[in-house]
Amino acid sequence: MPTDARTATLEGAADLAFVEATLDALDGLYGAAGDVDADDRALFQLAVTEVVTNIAEHGLPPGTVRVSAILEVHPTHLAASFTDTALPADVELDEAEMPDPLEESGRGIALAAAALDEFEHERRGGNVWRLRRDRLGSARD
């Protein structure tokens, strides 16, 4: 039984270049793993981009925030954690609701929550965000 995880780590200023670097790293992990289901890939990528974009665009004070990321592809699940230096974010993950279809913003956290099996936010100096999606068909391994 495969027990190895494939892991990528990144650290840098919380900006849109970091978002792109995170998505590139995740693409690399998917490519190396080779067997991640298309829905799992897309939905976990969606959750990751929403969380890291949220840090980049809303982390306070603007322009000063740094972030580190750990991305993991396991045989049974996909996981990511982001640790940022922003002021503790005032966000309630389990209260996020999808806005009206014609709204142009406000979907990010609700989308991430919909794509994940576990989603945690901890205020610890800055913020720690933990994401996990169980891979389809793997829950009973």
């Binding site: 978002v19 298309a38 897309a42 969606l46 279809p101 142009e104 913003s105 989308l111």
Partner: protein
């Protein structure tokens, strides 16, 4: 991200390639606004080469849809990959952004 714009007699087409995220969303908004400013208000977003869309990309699509309608035209999406359809369904946007099979026929019913 590349955004390719082509104008035709019946409609203009905007084709975003790659990831439609916060990085690319302003390019899409600008491309659509430039078309509207130039008098093209019937716009198709050809998503055949769009690998991925997130909430920032969705926001740009909704903004573009509203801008086109405000100018008396419309915006339609076409050739939408399955991964993008999944995100449209999750957000109920499949109700306001109906997916057409190809860019060429997106305005056929009119």
């Amino acid at each position: 991200m590349n955004v390719t714009v082509t104008t035709g007699e019946r409609h203009a087409t905007v084709a975003p390639e790659g990831r439609l995220t916060a990085v690319a969303a302003p390019q899409l908004r600008q491309a659509v606004q430039d078309l509207i400013d130039g008098g093209s208000t019937r716009i198709v977003i050809d998503m055949s080469a769009t690998e991925f869309v997130d909430s920032s990309g969705l926001g740009a699509l909704i903004g573009a849809l509203k801008a086109a309608r405000l100018a008396g035209g419309d915006l339609r999406i076409a050739a939408v990959p399955e991964t993008v359809r999944t995100v449209l369904r999750l957000t109920n946007l499949d109700r306001v952004l109906r997916a057409h099979p190809t860019a060429a026929e997106a305005f056929d019913a009119d």
